[in-house]
Amino acid sequence: MEMFKGYDPGKFYDEMFGEDGTVRNHCAPLLQKFGNLDQKDFLARKANSELYFLRQGITFNVYHDDQGTERIFPFDPIPRVMPASEWEHLEAGLTQRIVALNLFLHDIYHDQQILKDEVIPRFYIEQAKHYRPEFRGVDVAADIYIHICGSDLIRGADGIYYVLEDNGRCPSGASYLLENRNALKRAFPGIFETLGVRPVDSYPRDLLNMLHHISPRRDGDPVCVLLTPGCHNSAYFEHCYLAREMGIDIVEGKDLAVVDKFVYMRTTRGLVRVDVIYRRIDDDFIDPVVFRKDSVLGVPGLMNAYKAGNVSLANAVGTGVADDKVIYYFVPKMIEYYLGQEPILPNVPTYLASEEADMKFILANLPELVVKAANESGGYGMLMGPAASKDEIAAFRERIIADPRNYIAQPVISLSRSPTWCEGAMEGRHIDLRPYIIYGKDVKIVPGGLTRVALTKDSLIVNSSQGGGSKDTWVLRH
């Protein structure tokens, strides 16, 4: 137990230790293995895993950094462990959620029954920044809109998992999930064999099967490609990694051409038809003819081919409406409306600034709340009430009053913590969980997901752009 001597779980939900300081049952075998290491050995193994990331080039680019330097995504070698029963619960809840979200997207891009039945006020949809009314009536392959979803889950002091947001556009990070496992296997060989940890390596296969499933072409093998904004994108490593694991070509916009509503890629042997595009470019940039005219990353004419049903996109165009934090508020209602079921995973309690009663509550309690802009991500555009200065709170108050449609507020959830190696000692750090849900012929979720950790003491912000790191996530067989 040398490594964990003096560890203080604090007043939070600790993933490894109970309130009385005793180790949770499902973590006991792990703790025994790690706890018996001496610090020197542990640090050598940690350095080994970091070298692996550096040599593999598993880095991200930091924007606004003049030197264009690449950094390693900080990796903490202490895994987050989850018993089988807990994972089953999450899996059921996430599956229910992605099915409902897809029914919702199909509905609002077709008959809009949910608006007619006034379950969601029409106003919220029509004013959603990423709603694409011009795509109403367009049919997509297998009626699937969100093929890959990266829902963020957090766990409160009560130990309950909440859905914080659904990322239904181009969620990133899956490659880190896979490489975290590789790094840990290298640093601690043999540790997995006896502990019954479920493998995660099926992800690329599941992804490729899904892409094949949505191909518009039924004869022969479909040609699938991954469309990247290019090597200067912060997630470029991931794009290459996934393309290689799936054995498909990674293309940039300029590699594709649209001819008579069919999409082709430019090869040394001429133009080759493309059937499915796993795109890692946002709607805004994907086709300069339809969306942003100044985009040089996209493919002119792509939307024509897409509307004609000659090419499938994963994810579909227009899913961003479901990422709107105001629409998020309605997901439990969607589950009830479309599936007639109780939501398995709750939302974080949310207040909508454009509802009068909620607005009153928000303005009266700003110092205690988290306020978020409806369409920002990455930890930007938000107010952490308890940590904010008076001026910041006043500034946000004005913004909320000026544009209530675009703000929501939530109570501060003190995220659960996990023991994390912090410069010389094991300390508790806040974590969240991003599972990757794939929706093709059926729903596949790789066991666990990416556990992100806020490395700064007491910070609740886990985003890599703001000092976050990650951990391997272990789902146990039993």
Binding site: G57, C240, F262, R266, P300
Partner: protein
């Protein structure tokens, strides 16, 4: 394969090869100078100036430095970030190319190049350049050779490989001519100063740095200027001779297009075939008749022509449509823009 990927693989390997050859070129000169015990500044300049002239970078060099001494030239060619053709710049460019086609490379191959890149930017490298330069150049060369070895043992012999091989052999042929060209700029021997003329010492140094001493001796008896030229341009089976490299280029081009050797289906094949025939049937007489420098200069022009035609054929003009219902070929509105971008890329050599 994707045209862009073919182009990127080609340049990735060219830059590695370029870094390797620069390390050799500098080493040649350092070895050469070991044979001259006392040189005054003016004489010393006479030995470093040709390096800059042969790489064709004198304009850039003169903008950055006032003086052509060994420190300035080695710095300029080794780790000056302002020189896009320095060893460290080439390694960074090779690695940047590799990064964009990471999915095509084996893990080992990427790791080797990435490790070379990390080394080239490390404090250790900086320290070695100052304190033990020979060791530094050796490490660069070793890593470059390891890179090629890993590539050879982990890459399927498909189009990707052929494009990489094209890049390697075109670059190598070009650099071999530049090695030789150095001797056409060398100062004449001064009576009583040296026992052997600089061009012969230079010939020896070139052969040594190419690891060609044994092969040369097996093929020719004694070292003289003509023999070295003959060997490095016309040797049939030495892997750094121009003829050997062009034979490889011609072979790769035909493997890519599927056209039988001796025939051609594009301008690149036509030019490589014509050049190969001249090399197969040529001799040093042609070289000295034209003058060594002019002959080498003409060769470099033809390598560039082949490179340009490869780009035209496989990157700029993939208009034929496969497996499609047969719509007519498109006209690309962004082709001009793309050409510009790629040219900018190429002009960095």
């Amino acid at each position: 394969m994707l045209s862009r990927v073919a182009n990127t693989l080609y340049w990735m390997v060219r830059y590695v090869e370029r870094a390797d050859n620069l390390a050799r070129l500098i080493d040649v000169n350092r070895q050469l100078l070991l044979d001259f015990e006392s040189l005054d500044t003016e004489r010393l300049r006479g030995f470093w100036q040709p390096i800059i002239l042969s790489t064709g970078d004198e304009e850039d060099f003169n903008k950055l430095y006032d003086h052509t001494g060994s420190d300035e030239v080695t710095r300029f060619l080794t780790d000056d970030p302002r020189n896009p053709n320095s060893i460290t710049s080439c390694i960074a460019l090779a690695r940047e190319n590799a990064r964009t086609v990471r999915d095509q490379l084996s893990d080992e191959l990427w790791e080797e190049l990435n490790a070379l890149y990390l080394f080239s930017r490390s404090d250790e490298a900086r320290r070695l350049i100052d304190s033990d330069a020979q060791r530094y150049y050796e490490m660069i060369r070793r890593s470059a050779v390891t890179f090629l070895g890993i590539a050879a043992s982990t890459t399927s012999r498909n189009e990707a490989w052929e494009f990489m091989d094209l890049g390697r052999h075109l670059e190598r042929a070009d650099k071999t001519t530049r090695f030789l060209d150095v001797s056409s700029y060398l100062p004449p021997s001064e009576d009583g100063m040296e026992a052997v003329s600089p061009s012969i010492l230079h010939g020896t140094a070139i052969l040594r740095s190419c690891g060609a001493m044994g092969a040369f001796r097996a093929a020719q008896r004694e070292i003289n200027a003509e023999g070295v030229v003959d060997f490095l341009i016309f040797a049939k089976d030495f892997p750094r001779s121009v003829r050997y490299c062009i034979e490889k280029v011609d072979n790769s081009l035909h493997l890519i297009s599927g056209t039988p050797r001796g025939a051609f289906s594009n301008e690149a094949e036509r030019e490589s075939g014509r050049l190969l025939a001249e090399l197969n049937f040529g001799s040093t007489e042609d070289v000295f008749e034209a003058g060594l420098h002019d002959y080498l200069d003409a060769l470099q022009g033809r390598f560039n022509h082949i490179g340009g035609e490869i780009f035209e054929t496989y990157v700029l003009m993939p208009e034929r449509i496969q497996t499609s219902p047969g719509p007519k070929p498109p006209t690309f509105s962004d082709a001009a823009l793309w050409r510009m971008e790629q040219q900018q890329h190429q002009s960095q050599k």
